[in-house]
């Protein structure tokens, strides 16, 4: 017990006296978390420029273009009658797409035939394509429905029946959660959990690397016994755990309101869920840190793993599309289960019972990484009595 308390206090001291680690921990708390969501803060992209190519130049074509311009997704850019010119503008990135209304458009509609308009939109950037498509489609569908209902009414149907006859099986799409289709709401909650993981791993890796350097250079090996590793790891682990378990609270009560992100979960349930998340990261960090020969190895190693980790966390890209072997391997990262469970609890209002699978996986990871770090620390730092002899 005394070893445990001393290891914990020593670790607090080591963290506080290391400016690099303090910087990373502060970055994980506020710098990254306030900076990263910035690009997404408007949530949706509006008023993308679309070039109208009106070859019909009729009353109806102008009406359609007005409808297009009126949507919030797109606005009309300077018009042209030349398709090649419109295409050139999209290739050069001056417009997001172009909308061709062919000659004879109005005549076809008046005759009761089907008229086709063509939308060419930039699919290099998916969000742009999605917005342009939604905007133009909405405008055409509205105009189309109006025309059709007029036809049915002319044929003697009542308005309600006209609507029903037009579309006998309508589909009503309702979003569950994130009703505004906000991009920040989609990305930021998951990324916050990843920032927590990566900064904690970097910080632990920096101190671990420093320790490894110190042990290699230590003139006289300090004495120690094998039995004290468990309290040592528990004590050190508690130091990091006690700091990082506060981070989610800060995210929930500061970053979420700052970017107006919606929440549906109970704070208590979220925090209960996150206990094994933080703990498993701490022990993963201990195990990893024994790999870093120098303190400067930890940042590069962990900066680069953040990209694959984001796409294996299942929020930006569905796990169903990931090969099975990789999906299983990804369970070794605390973020895979941690992010999935956190999002369902906090964004979708799931109960702890509904995320129990993820919770158990995280506890299993805690156990696994505790054992792993116990083995690794013994091999690389065989003198637990003096955890860091060369540090002030």
């Amino acid at each position: 017990m005394r070893t445990l308390a001393r290891a914990c206090i020593d670790e607090y001291r080591a963290i506080l006296s290391d400016r690099g680690v303090l910087f990373i921990f502060l970055a994980g708390l506020i710098i990254y978390t306030a900076y990263y969501p910035l690009p997404y803060s408007p949530e949706v992209v509006k008023e993308l420029p679309v070039v109208p190519v009106d070859q019909d130049a009729s009353t109806l074509s102008r009406k359609l273009l007005q409808w297009v311009d009126a949507t919030e997704e797109v606005r009309l850019a300077a018009s042209t009658r030349n398709v090649a010119e419109a295409r050139r503008r999209v290739v050069n990135g001056e417009a997001a797409g172009f909308f061709v209304i062919p000659e004879g458009f109005e005549r076809s509609v008046l005759r009761g035939e089907q008229a086709t308009v063509a939308l060419y939109a930039d699919a290099c950037y998916f969000l742009i394509y999605r917005q342009v498509h939604t905007g133009c489609y909405k405008a055409a569908a509205t105009l189309s429905a109006g025309i059709e209902i007029k036809r049915f009414t002319a044929a003697g149907f009542g308005e309600r029946h006209a609507r029903a006859a037009r579309d006998p099986l309508p589909l009503d799409s309702r979003p569950l959660f994130n009703p505004a289709s906000g991009y920040a709401t989609y990305v930021v909650p998951g990324v916050l959990m990843l920032i927590l993981q990566q900064t904690l791993l970097i910080g632990i890796g920096m101190l671990g690397g420093t320790r490894n350097e110190a042990f290699r250079n230590a003139p006289v090996p300090p004495q120690g016994g094998k039995d004290s590793y468990v309290p040592l790891l528990l004590g050190r682990g508690f130091a990091y755990f006690s700091i990082y378990i506060l981070y989610p609270l800060f995210y929930l009560f500061f970053i979420f309101p700052l970017y107006d992100l919606p929440r549906a979960g109970h704070t208590t349930a979220v925090m209960v869920f996150l206990v094994p998340y933080v703990l498993s990261i701490v022990y993963l960090g201990f195990a990893l840190s024994t790999l870093f020969q120098y303190r400067e190895h930890s940042i590069p190693a962990l900066i680069y793993t953040s990209v694959p980790a984001v796409f294996l966390a299942g929020f930006a890209w569905p796990m169903e599309a990931v090969p099975t072997w990789l999906r299983h391997a990804a369970l070794l990262l605390p973020s895979t289960s941690g992010v999935a469970g956190f999002l369902r609890l906090n964004q979708m209002g799931a109960t702890l019972h509904e995320v129990r699978f993820e919770w158990f996986v995280l506890w299993a990871l805690c156990g696994f990484y505790f054992l792993l770090s116990w083995v690794c620390v013994q091999r690389t730092q065989p003198f637990p009595e003096r955890p860091h002899p060369d540090l002030p």
């Binding site: 063509a118 939109a121 006998p168 799409s173 959660f177 090969p323």
Partner: protein, 399 residues
């Protein structure tokens, strides 16, 4: 020691500095890890993640309150769609919502009671699709797929009703939906996520490797107190010392970017419609730009630890600011400015322009110029200070 090489030719000195670095690299497992192993492993992982071009068979749950021939037909059609698979049926909405909260389904298709009867009477009961919009990407795919499925069924019913009213079948078909939008996704006709995400994510990894290795290579000399030997080898010319040190990494990472494009085009079938030369030039500038910025961070901080943190902070969140998944046009001004200050953003625009769009080189010229500015401008500012750091041993051995 310091005088050694002062009178020697520049090329000889350059050769000596480079040879020293190559010797160091070949004895450092960390270098092998960061130049060969980790890039290949991370490329492989990302390629595996995005190997499917668009997600298929996303699980949805059907809540069928009707239980009629029509509702079963709708369920079958939804299951048959390539994008989704009906993995569960629920008795009521509460049960269905449970599937969504447990993460077992991305959407609920709610079929209201008496659907078939009301549809026959022309009473238009709405079929409701509840999407888990927290997963924005999957909800977009499912929205499109469900709209198509229900639309096809609805059009069939509409057509049947019209023919029963005695309209000519050909005419009846035409009258459905008087204005049709024919959508053409330009440059990526199948809306393939692989084509769009892989060519932007792999360079994001490369920039992190380049800047981190540069900081370590240059900052390490200060930390380990070997800057004097290094400078002496260059004949006391800081610019030459830096150049000789960076060349091996420039070459290594250029090989890596070329390998990256070979991987993308040959094995991942990413189209390459534009100019290979423009891409190559952009890659050279891209690697050099990150090396220059890495050196600038070391010069600025005179401290490996801080330079490392700065570089991590610079390169870590870069993808969010690059304007690929969330376009630059929708960002607030400050985020746009951050994007402009990242060579990655300019490089990725060139990559997408040349690979997918087949844009003329003139369209890429502004971005190339921006990359060139990153390579040329900072050295003027940091070279004098870097020289001072290399000479003055007070800056050495700092953690």
């Amino acid at each position: 020691m310091a005088a050694r090489g002062a009178n020697e030719g520049r090329l000889r000195c350059l050769y000596r500095v480079t040879r020293r670095e190559l010797h160091f690299m070949s004895h450092s497992p960390f270098c092998t890890l960061f130049i060969v192993v980790l890039p290949l492993v991370s490329f492989a992982i990302l390629c595996a993640i995005f190997y499917v071009e668009t997600p298929r068979d996303l699980p949805i749950v059907v809540c069928d309150r009707d239980g009629s021939t029509l509702s079963r037909q709708l369920t079958r059609m939804a299951d048959a769609s390539a994008s989704m698979a009906v993995t569960a049926t629920a008795r009521d909405m509460e049960e269905a919502a449970g599937y969504v909260r447990r993460g077992e389904a991305y959407a609920v298709l709610y079929i209201p009671p008496r659907l078939e009867r009301d549809a026959k009477r022309g009473d238009a009961p709405p079929v409701v699709a509840y999407f888990n919009n927290q997963w924005l990407l999957t909800s977009g795919i499912l929205n499109r797929a469900l709209r198509e499925t229900v639309g096809t069924l609805s059009a069939g019913l509409d057509l049947r009703a019209r023919m029963m009213r005695g309209e000519d079948p050909a005419l009846a078909w035409e009258r459905y939906e008087p204005i049709q939008v024919d959508a053409h996704p330009m440059f990526n006709p199948n809306l393939n996520y692989r084509f769009f995400l892989l060519p932007s994510l792999l360079p994001t990894l490369v920039q992190a490797f380049v800047i981190m290795m540069t900081v370590r290579a240059v900052g390490g000399e200060l930390k380990h107190g070997t800057a004097g030997v290094w400078l002496a080898d260059s004949g006391n010319r800081p610019w030459l010392a830096l150049l000789g040190k960076c060349i091996p990494y420039t070459v290594a990472y250029l090989i890596l970017t070329n390998f990256m494009f070979a991987l993308l085009v040959r094995f991942m079938n990413v189209p390459l419609h534009g100019s290979v030369r423009v891409l190559f030039l952009a890659s050279v500038l891209f690697v050099l730009a990150y090396q220059v910025i890495g050196v600038a961070f070391v010069a600025l901080s005179a401290n490996l630890r801080l330079a490392n943190s700065l570089a991590g902070f610079y390169a870590g969140p870069a993808f969010a600011f690059a304007g690929i998944t969330y376009p630059t046009i929708g960002m607030p001004l400050f985020a746009k400015a951050v994007g402009w200050a990242l060579p990655l953003a300019h490089y990725l625009h060139i990559v997408l322009q040349q690979a997918l769009r087949g844009a003329p080189w003139q369209a890429s010229a502004p971005y190339l110029a921006a990359l060139a500015a990153f390579v040329l401008a900072p050295p003027i500012l940091f070279l004098p200070r870097m020289g001072r750091l290399m000479r003055d041993d007070r800056y050495w051995g700092r953690l």
